[in-house]
Amino acid sequence: MSILYAILDFPAVKWLFLVLVLVMPLASLLTWAERRQSAMMQDRLGPNRANIGPIKLKGILHFVADALKMIFKEDFIPANVHKGLFALAPVLALAPVLIAFAVIPFGPTIYPHALTQSLDPTLLVTDPGYVDPSTGVALFGDAIRMQIFSSDFGLIFYFAVLTLANYGGTIAGWASYNKWALLGGLRSSSQMMSYEVAMGLALMGAFLVTGTLEPGAIVTGGAMSTMSAAHPLNWLWLWQPVGFVLFLTASIAETKRAPFDIPEGEPEIIGYFVEYSGIRWGMFFLAEFIEIVFVSAVMVTVFFGGWQVPFLDADGFRIGGIVDPITHVSTAGWFHEMDHWFVALLQFSAFVVKTVLLCMFQLLIRWTLPRFRGDQLMNLGWKLLLPLALANIMVTALVKLIYFMVTRS
């Protein structure tokens, strides 16, 4: 059995699970949800007719039809394109987004031997190697961590990798041998420069509050050590509201969608993928939607408690508990005990639900706001977001310093 658990804990297996079970279906469904939601916002019905026989499901199957169409469409490569880079660009756009998912914690650590009983968090902290005397197995052994790549530079790794995705757009624009595509690629680069600085600095406030850049530690730690990490007021949206708004703005620019869809700009230049067709275009399209899922997952992880369910500690629901300042385990208060497997299931579902809600919020923004002009985006990025992000860092650092001075004296 422990071999099975070791396989389940293998990063590639976890990555396959995350991408195939969570990200790809969610991104594909978003293509349908976007058309459907935008239609509903504009007093239309949207796509609701794709069906397999009598199974209609309100048109959800449209994404299957779309995928089939794109796979079987002619893969047309125009004359004069740079064939190598033309083929490479969609991969460059899609791959970094899938890689960046490695740092996202999408669920709690699962202890397979303790699945059918309530987890004892105090025991977990004080004696991780505890062996159950009746069965003779290490209770907390063979742990499956629901995060592919956990490192202290997690958020920086995400920035580094996701910035590479921009090469996809720029190279596609250059390789296409098309003036409109080139304009789109250049716009994509210039847009990236406008938001990337503010985006990174917006998360630095969160770093100052939690003291870590490891997304898993942000989720399990919360903003204050005197509160349970599952308490909604301990999540960073309350402690970094300015940082959240800045990051939200910058992340919409990151996904290249309205109001920051300048690289595409359908009515003017169509965008860097104007010469692409079939599944190559589909890869750009999918990358865009996976980016939506990804930035939603980052926002959920950093600002909305990740996989934490409100008031759900590792051993069950607890309201008004007291947190031990050293072990960070809450006790007392109103308490309802739950099995470990059920808690883990709830927490994984919470992550999915929060991500979906934030994705829908991004769709709402995309279909509400008109497109910015290029210079307006530059003004916004450099003259508004950047100073605000810097001010946010200064104020956060100042408050933190004063807090330290008060608590230590």
């Binding site: 509903m40 916002m41 007093d43 239309r44 019905l45 709402l364 509400t368 706001l369 508004l384």
Partner: protein, 240 residues
């Protein structure tokens, strides 16, 4: 010529400025030598507009209201959706305008020109006498008639073949206007069906007679004029 144009433009500009503040920018001063050179008051966007936050929140509220309403409330009846200007503030109904076509159909107006039909005589034969008026007047050349001798001694000719290519038809209704004996009408209230093969778009004599009913008009102008109460009869025909 050019001077005259300038003068005209000036007059217009001054008139606009004096009409009210909404007519244009506020003019602070006008140059003496070049009256078109003016100093105007520039309206800079305020703090709310430059941060975009208030406008964004307002816009999100509007779209979210529409989305929630259309998501949770039941739809209006198809008739209310199909009519432009139908009241949208029906309580507990959403604002979706889409008519789900094959399942829901809009009732066409009474004078709608639709699919052709051939009218019948009292004895069930086709009313057409193959006078060739309709293929002559047809601007799209979509009507094909091959005449033959009629069995009926009172009728000279009848169509052996009467075909209309609905793909070429421009639905102008001139054939109905041209017909001297009320043999062809376009009042079926239906339109040409989509087809998978072009040949299937050709309406034959039989298919058009299948939609036909007996005309109350007498040939040669005798009997009651159907046009006099054509409104009533045409309505009944559609319902049949």
């Amino acid at each position: 010529m050019s001077a005259h144009d300038h003068g005209h433009g000036d007059d217009h500009g001054h008139g606009g400025a004096h009409d009210g503040p909404a007519a244009g920018p506020v003019v602070l001063s006008v140059s003496d030598r070049h009256p078109r050179v003016r100093t105007i008051q520039v309206v800079r966007p305020g703090f709310q507009d430059t941060t975009f936050l208030a406008a964004t929140a307002k816009g999100l509220g509007i779209t979210l209201k529409h989305f929630a309403r259309n998501l949770f409330l039941p739809m209006r009846k198809a008739d209310a959706r199909s009519k432009a200007g139908a009241p949208t503030d029906v309580s507990f109904r959403n604002e979706i305008e889409t008519v789900q076509y094959p399942e829901e159909k809009v009732t066409y107006p009474e004078r709608f020109r639709g699919l052709h039909r051939l009218m019948l005589r009292d004895d069930g034969n086709v009313r057409c006498v193959a006078c060739m008026c309709c293929p002559t007047v047809c601007p799209a050349h979509c009507i094909t008639i091959i005449p033959e001798e009629s069995d009926n001694p009172g009728v000279e000719k009848r169509p052996a073949v009467f075909e209309i290519d609905e793909l070429r038809c421009v639905v102008c209704g001139l054939c109905v206007e041209a017909c001297p004996c009320d043999a062809i009408r376009m009042d079926t209230g239906d339109h040409a069906k989509p087809v998978e093969d072009r040949a299937n778009a050709i309406e034959t004599k039989e298919s058009m007679m299948g939609r036909g009913i007996r005309s109350i008009a007498k040939q040669g102008g005798e009997g009651p004029n159907w046009r006099a109460h054509g409104h009533e009869s045409s309505k009944n025909d559609v319902n049949r």
